[in-house]
């Protein structure tokens, strides 16, 4: 399997009228960093959950790191890191307890990585999770996702609610250092181009569950295409209509 992710005809129907993901064909090479750019409700989170094996597709199929999306979800989760936009950790635990909690789930865990990045992020170790800011929680969730040294990192609008740009920069630096510069695969889904452009060179556009196109992030910036997810997606939908 030469692709980190390969899907065909992936469709997720919650009801006949609610189709979150429609006929998605996606290929991501090992070591690639890819964005999934789309407005709210376009199917980004559902697609990531299917790739993690958390949700089963209604039709279609695929592989993630060589494991079947439906039948080998446990192996996928052993090798994939996942950080969601609102990193909700267990408030009643301390950071130290949270680390211990996460560590026991994995057969492999890099003990040196966690203290290194806790220090890098200036995160305290003795306070309870409930006393942390949302930004600090997201950084901790990222460090916990990286500690098992995953082959693939899935990020779901991880810095969407960051109010302090310094935290976003730290987040991106850690992803760059631990994943991208080490040739490991990253997929980041977001409604914000700013979130995607710092980590990836290429992105797919997703709109109403469908992948519209795949393009370089630089093209959006240099050709002065709309940086708003809704606008750019509508533009491509119109183009598609005109072409057909």
């Amino acid at each position: 399997m030469d692709k980190a992710i390969e899907t065909w005809g992936l469709t997720k129907k919650f009801s006949p009228k609610n189709v979150a993901v429609k006929n998605v064909y996606l290929r991501v090479s090992h070591g690639e960093a890819l964005g999934i750019f789309g407005p709210p409700g376009s199917g980004k989170t559902t697609l990531l959950k299917i790739l993690m094996g958390l949700q089963s597709p209604s039709s279609g199929g695929g592989f993630c790191l060589g494991y079947d999306l439906v039948t080998e979800s446990m192996q996928i989760r052993e090798n994939v890191g996942y950080v969601a936009n609102e990193a909700s950790l267990y408030d009643h635990l301390t950071i130290r307890e949270m680390i211990k909690f996460s560590r026991n789930f994995y057969s492999h865990w890099n003990d040196e990585l966690v203290p290194r990045y806790l220090e890098f992020s200036n995160l305290p170790t003795r306070i309870k999770i409930k006393k942390m800011t949302p930004e600090q929680k997201s950084l901790l969730a990222l460090i916990l996702a990286l500690a098992p040294e995953p082959q693939l990192l899935l990020l779901d609008e991880p810095t969407l609610f960051f109010s302090d740009p310094a935290y976003r920069q730290t987040f991106e630096e850690i992803v760059n250092l631990e994943m991208i510069s080490q040739g490991r695969t990253v997929v980041i889904a977001s409604r914000l181009l700013d979130e995607i452009k710092e980590l990836t060179e290429e992105t797919v556009l997703i709109y109403k569950g469908k992948i519209l196109t795949r393009l370089e992030v630089d093209r959006i910036l240099e050709d002065e295409l709309p940086s708003d997810a809704e606008e750019i997606c509508r533009m491509f939908v119109e183009e598609e209509k005109n072409d057909s």
Binding site: R77, Y82, S102, F105
Partner: protein, 247 residues
């Protein structure tokens, strides 16, 4: 089947609630005998309970306590510990984090269920032992080992069934208040017509009188068997429901 990491997380999460239930029960257990001047006159229709406790323990506060008060508190405690066990992960938005770990849903459900049952063991046998000792200290007689075991075991079994029904509802409903409501309605219905007389004709225990244990054989394995089967059914229903839900 039981995940150690999840086990310690759950114990820590339930620690305060469990201690509250325990202290509340102990406090009530001390107040009630004192309020009734330590010795209670039992109602005449308690004959069904004679099989649960040794006959020599009649009309002691300990008997009243273990057969009636503790039983009702144990059902409430079972519901309190179980009603948000699974749905709390959803309302607290921690489910995405938990499910992203390489752990099966059955393992999560099993660990949570076992934590609840373990806490109930400490709750029932701890309070029973404490009040047995208190009764002995105040001269109303300490229950023999057999009766202590039987009475506490039956109470424990009922509380586990109450816990597992609430646990199942927490898998069925995504909101904790709904599972709490469903549990209260179900167990309220079990205690019809009067909530505080569990052993009356329409109560759940009147049905259990049919079993050999209730006819004087004093065999704890019958209620234990009934408890295991019922708790097992609700456990499997919880696993089934939770494994098929989309998050």
């Amino acid at each position: 089947m039981i995940h150690s990491s999840l086990w310690f997380k759950e114990i820590k999460e339930y620690r305060k609630l469990f201690l509250f239930c325990l202290l509340f029960t102990i406090l009530l257990g001390i107040i009630i005998p004192y309020y009734y001047d330590q010795v209670l006159e039992l109602p005449g229709n308690i004959s069904a309970w004679e099989g649960i406790t040794a006959s020599s323990l009649h009309e002691t506060s300990w008997l009243q306590w273990t057969s009636v008060v503790l039983l009702q508190l144990a059902v409430i405690t079972g519901i309190v510990l179980g009603f948000s066990s699974l749905s709390r992960e959803l309302t607290g938005q921690t489910l995405g984090f938990l499910l992203s770990k390489p752990v099966s849903r059955r393992e999560i459900v099993t660990t949570k269920a076992v934590v609840g049952v373990t806490l109930l063991i400490f709750y029932i046998f701890g309070t029973s032992l404490l009040f047995g000792l208190l009764s002995w200290k105040y001269g109303v007689g300490f229950p023999g080992p057999d009766s202590f075991f039987l009475s506490a075991t039956v109470t424990f079994i009922i509380s586990v069934i109450a816990y597992m029904t609430a646990f199942f509802f927490s898998a069925l409903f995504s909101r904790s208040w709904l599972s709490a409501l469903a549990s209260i309605l179900l167990w309220g219905a079990m205690f019809i017509p009067e909530l505080n007389i569990a052993y009356e004709d329409y109560g759940i225990f009147s049905a259990m009188q049919e079993a050999g244990f209730w006819l004087g054989e004093e065999n704890a394995f019958i209620p234990i068997g009934i408890g295991i089967v019922l708790a097992g059914i609700f456990y499997e229903l919880a696993v089934y429901t939770w494994s098929r839900r989309e998050y």
